[in-house]
């Protein structure tokens, strides 16, 4: 009974950590530019697919992961240079459509390069489950949790303690004042897409051994990451992490105790419920509108 609960909890925390990473990606870009990057899920897909590709050509796992991160970051930067910067000053809806265009493009590119098939990726340290309190935990889950925690801590340090990180936070609070203080807005934009792409890639190759890798794997992961970011209050990084865990755990509990058919709906039901009562997310600051 308790072992069962623990089992669901572990699997919930595992996917929750992935949603948290994707949600953080949304948050960072939103803070730097107020854009919702609908290609965030595609970063996850690229991380997974390119890691699979590099392993299949015989590279050792760590090298494949590093290359997957580099490639995804490169694509994130190219996205800014080729699609976001040329459309500067366009309305937010237009920018959203551009990122949707980019996500269709990237899915198409992945299909051309790697085909539509499902690929599997070997887990980092084997498939033998570790028994904790009667629940079987895959080593990959521990890798996911450890990496997610490390990334969250590193990001906190980056945003709170480093000059560049503070520059991003400053641009999020007041873009004009940040520019007047000498912060290079274009650099901040590039940096935020690079960071988000990196987070996406890491989430991608970490989840690939569990979810498999295929060109459309990013759609649902991206949307649920968006849920996580909004749930925690858009623009609040720790909120996104908590949002991801809430979504992941509720999903696993629903699948375990209620019905696995409606597993994918849980994230969206939670988000609607929360937004109806707290229109700015759980931890969002209720903003006042300047007229």
């Amino acid at each position: 009974m308790f072992a069962e609960f623990l089992q669901f909890l572990f699997s919930g925390i595992t996917v929750g950590a992935i949603y948290a990473l994707v949600g953080l990606g949304f948050t960072i870009i939103y803070n730097a530019s107020h854009i919702i990057n609908f290609a965030q899920g595609e970063f996850v897909m690229l991380g997974a697919m390119s890691a699979v590709f590099f392993v299949s050509v015989g590279m050792p796992m760590p090298v494949a992961m590093l290359l997957a991160i580099i490639i995804t970051i490169f694509i994130g930067l190219a996205l800014v240079k080729l699609a976001i910067e040329p459309a500067r000053n366009a309305s937010i809806v237009t920018l959203i459509i551009i990122t949707i265009g980019a996500s269709i493009f990237l899915r198409g590119a992945a299909q051309v390069l790697w085909g539509r098939n499902f690929h599997s990726l070997a887990p980092i340290s084997g498939n033998d489950p570790i028994m904790i309190g009667g629940a079987a935990v895959l080593p990959q889950s521990l890798w996911i949790l450890g990496s997610a925690m490390l990334i969250v801590m590193a990001l906190r340090y980056f945003f709170d303690r480093t000059l560049i990180g503070k520059a991003i936070v400053a641009s999020a609070h007041n873009p004009l004042a940040a520019r007047l203080a000498g912060i290079n807005a274009r650099f901040v934009l590039l940096l935020s897409f690079g960071l988000s792409a990196m987070l996406g890639a890491v989430a991608g190759f970490l989840i690939a051994p569990i979810s498999l890798a295929y060109p459309s794997v990013g759609i649902m992961l991206g949307l649920k990451g968006f849920c996580a970011a909004v749930l925690g209050g858009l623009g609040n990084p720790m909120g996104a992490v908590l949002g991801g865990l809430i979504v992941g755990i509720s999903e696993a509990m629903t699948a375990g105790y209620i019905s696995s058919a409606y597993k994918d709906a849980v994230a969206f039901i939670i988000i609607l419920g929360v937004l109806f009562f707290r229109p700015s997310g759980l931890f969002g600051i209720r903003g006042t509108e300047r007229v």
């Binding site: 937010i92 459509i97 949707i100 269709i104 198409g108 994918d264 969206f268």
Partner: protein
């Protein structure tokens, strides 16, 4: 009657295009594409009232399209309802659902609104997929043909006129709404909600009204599509379809009823043309989408209208 205004002139031009087009369509394959353009255009005109005029985004309108389609399918196929009755039942259901969720959803702003409508659409499509006993599940279900007084509507040529007339009626309704006091109120909401409220516009009331209107239009279009296509799947209500609809509105030009028609036409035809690229279809489609949005930010129709020096209203 001034023919030079976009209102009457545009209506006549659209009517003329619909009347002449059959002379140019060589076979039923082309009819099929034009009919799909018409159905998409009807949804987009409704959605444009919400996005273009009122400034409220919806990433879940395919959900309402899907409910309309499945009401026609389920009531028609499983319970033998006449097509008109099931179509009206679907529209009434969508009106009720959208009315109930409109107040809390329309309170949301910006990206929260995007998230809320997106979630709503996805929940609808998941329900349609999972309630397999009623809906046939992910494989979809057949829909009986549309019959009126014992006559069944068959064939692309008949449907061409049905959809053509429905499109004209929708355009007429939308243009009337936009030019009415309601339309002015909606545009004032787009400009500034606070300013509109200060001037005595009941902002929540109008937002709910336009949300329900656009949802019901989508439901009617969904019913038309279900009877025309004869087969529906949950994809009709899915996220990808919702995004397609928004893209049509934005590409054609926001706050332009004819822009919605043009956007629907282009994004319906484009994938057909791009099939020559085989595997590269999505690559090319994504590139065109990005390119258009970079170079024609306000959408095709307003940009082209500005090129011809027309005064923007």
């Amino acid at each position: 009657m001034n023919l030079a205004t976009p209102r009457t002139g545009g209506m006549l031009a659209l009517a003329a295009v619909i009347a002449i087009l059959p002379l140019l369509l060589p076979n039923s394959f082309y009819y099929d594409i034009v009919i799909l353009i018409g159905i998409n255009a009807i949804v987009c005109i409704g959605l444009n009232l919400l996005i273009g005029y009122t400034g409220q985004i919806s990433l879940g309108h395919a959900g309402f399209f899907g409910i309309g389609a499945y009401f026609s399918g389920i009531l028609g196929a499983n319970y033998g309802w006449p097509a008109f009755a099931s179509m009206l039942a679907g529209a009434a259901f969508v009106a009720a659902v959208s009315f109930i969720i409109a107040r809390p959803i329309m309170k949301l702003k910006g990206h929260y609104l995007a998230m809320g409508t997106l979630g709503m659409g996805i929940i609808i499509s998941i329900v349609l997929t999972q309630e397999g006993d009623l809906t046939g599940g992910p494989d979809g279900m057949p829909v009986p043909p549309f019959s009126v007084f014992g006559f069944s509507l068959y064939g692309e040529k008949t449907w061409y006129w049905v959809v053509g007339v429905s499109l004209l009626i929708t355009v007429w309704l939308a243009l009337n709404l936009v030019d009415s006091p309601v339309g002015r109120a909606l545009r004032s909401v787009h400009g500034s909600e606070v300013a509109a409220e200060t001037l005595g516009v009941n902002v929540p009331h109008y937002k709910v009204q336009v949300f329900v209107t656009s949802a019901v239009i989508a439901s009617f279009a969904g019913s038309l599509f279900a009877h025309y296509a004869g087969f529906i799947t949950p994809d009709e209500a899915g996220f990808v379809h919702s995004i397609e609809l928004v893209t049509m509105v934005v590409l054609g030009g926001m706050a332009s009823t004819f822009g919605a028609v043009v956007g629907a036409a282009i994004l319906t035809v484009l994938p057909q043309l791009l099939t020559v690229f085989h595997d590269y279809e999505m690559l090319v489609f994504g590139t065109i989408l990005i390119g258009t949005m970079i170079f024609m930010r306000r959408g095709l129709v307003p940009t082209i209208a500005a090129l011809f020096g027309e005064r923007k209203e």
